[in-house]
């Protein structure tokens, strides 16, 4: 559901709307950022920046340009990727290229907010290795179809259809 009334209130700079938007999307934003940065403290910093940007730039959002979720997703990915170019990040984290979101799910030391251990197993087992990679690049990292095809060395035409199959499986497991 598009939170249309909330978006309008947000665009009118009503602070209560920002609180509601935060409650709705903070975990998603945090997950996207954390998957890119892999550092709780840095991710929390970026999370704050993202909601400041949502507050400041809300008037520029239009439903015709895309989903509100997608708009927030873009802001989150860009802010996190910007952070990876910062000195403090470069100094401490070098080899994150090969990792994808599945590592986070498999890492038992992580205290994940919404999913129990059974849920985690469901996510992972439902996805083929290629699906995990495609979803990681397209959804979490914001790659284009072309970039995804090149990175995974698969034909450009199959990215879209293969991704469709992967998301279908995900929907089934999650019973969405």
């Amino acid at each position: 559901m598009q939170p249309t009334a909330l978006i309008i209130a947000l665009q009118n700079k009503e602070q209560s709307a920002l609180q509601s938007i935060y409650d709705m999307y903070a975990t998603n934003v945090y997950g996207i950022i954390y998957n890119i940065l892999r550092d709780k403290e840095l991710s929390e910093e970026v999370l704050q920046d993202v909601f400041i940007k949502i507050w400041n730039n809300a008037p520029s959002y239009s439903e015709k340009k895309g989903r509100f979720f997608t708009w927030i997703l873009n802001i989150a990915r860009n802010a996190a990727i910007d952070k990876t170019r910062s000195k403090s990040f470069k100094n401490s984290y070098q080899n994150l290229e090969a990792e994808n979101f599945v590592d986070i799910l498999e890492d038992n030391n992580n205290f994940l907010s919404k999913v129990d251990s059974i849920g985690i197993k469901k996510y992972i087992s439902a996805l083929e290795p290629l699906c995990k990679k495609i979803i990681d690049l397209l959804f979490f990292k914001g790659f284009t179809q072309k970039e995804t095809a090149e990175t995974l060395d698969i034909p450009l035409g199959t990215v879209k259809t293969r991704n469709r199959i992967c998301i279908d499986k995900l929907k089934q497991v999650l019973e969405v």
Binding site: A26, W55, L73
Partner: protein, 264 residues
């Protein structure tokens, strides 16, 4: 359009990811308005992605929202301060720029004037130097000429010794017999008093027959003190006397300054 096929194409997933172009986004939006099935599919995709992204998020510190709240300014939406801020700054910048430009122009003008003046001065100096060089070159060629005369072994060199009138006086005659020319070096003679002039004589000795070779006019103006006179005579000696301006018919022997015989 077959909406099932459209949904199966996978474009709606890309739409939610945000990996479509702006134009494609507009097209999808139009279709979603017409086909509730497609819109429902978008919602399902979005929900599963929300679950997925939430699943990878670590526990969220509950204090974060208050930090965000502290960083936003609810008054920020009032329009007036923004426009006021905007209206003044460009004006000041504009004025500052024009003042800077004027100052710059003035400086350039002044510089230009200075450079022109300097150019004129340089041209004058150049002309002066050229003149000096020309004079020096003339001097040099004259001196070279004289040097070639002095070194020419075909010339007969006749030293003229001092006489009673002035014991310090001396002179030398370089006689180019073949070309009937004589060069008289009188650097050792005092400057003649006003109204007087040196006169050079060619002498036959037996008997003594003086023949005037000419007067040394403009004595002071001749810097080298070397005069060139013609001498067609069969000279046996040369003498120089001080005579009244214009010269005399015969030498005033009391005023004989130097005398020397040609060695044979």
């Amino acid at each position: 359009m077959d909406i099932k096929e459209y949904i199966a194409s996978g474009i709606l997933e890309l739409y939610v990811y945000g990996s479509l172009s702006e134009k494609e986004n507009t097209e999808v939006y139009a279709i979603l308005q017409e086909h509730p099935e497609a819109l429902a599919e978008v919602e399902r995709i979005e929900n599963s992605l929300k679950e997925l992204s939430a699943a990878v998020a670590p526990d969220l510190d509950t204090s974060i929202y208050s930090k965000i709240e502290n960083r936003i300014d609810p008054e920020d939406n009032s329009v007036i301060p923004i426009t006021r801020k905007r209206s003044n700054l460009p004006m000041y910048i504009g004025w500052a720029a024009s003042v800077a430009l004027l100052a710059g122009l003035f400086v350039q003008l002044n510089k230009n004037k200075e450079l022109r003046q300097q150019l004129v001065e340089n041209q004058i100096e150049k002309q002066l130097l050229e003149g000096k060089i020309q004079v020096a070159e003339e001097d040099l060629s004259q001196t070279k000429n004289l040097l070639s005369v002095l070194r020419n072994k075909e010339f007969i060199q006749v030293p003229l010794a001092a006489q009673q009138v002035d014991p310090n006086a001396y002179a030398t005659v370089y006689w180019d017999k073949e070309n009937q020319k004589a060069y008289i070096d009188v650097a050792g003679l005092p400057t003649p008093p006003p109204g007087k002039v040196y006169q050079v004589w060619s002498l036959g000795l037996n008997p003594l027959t003086p023949t005037s070779m000419g007067t040394l006019d403009a004595f002071t103006d001749n810097k080298n003190k070397i005069f060139s006179l013609s001498n067609p005579n069969n000279s046996e000696a040369f003498g120089i006397t001080l005579e009244p301006e214009g010269g005399s018919e015969s030498p005033t022997l009391e005023m004989l300054y130097t005398l020397g015989a040609v060695e044979s």
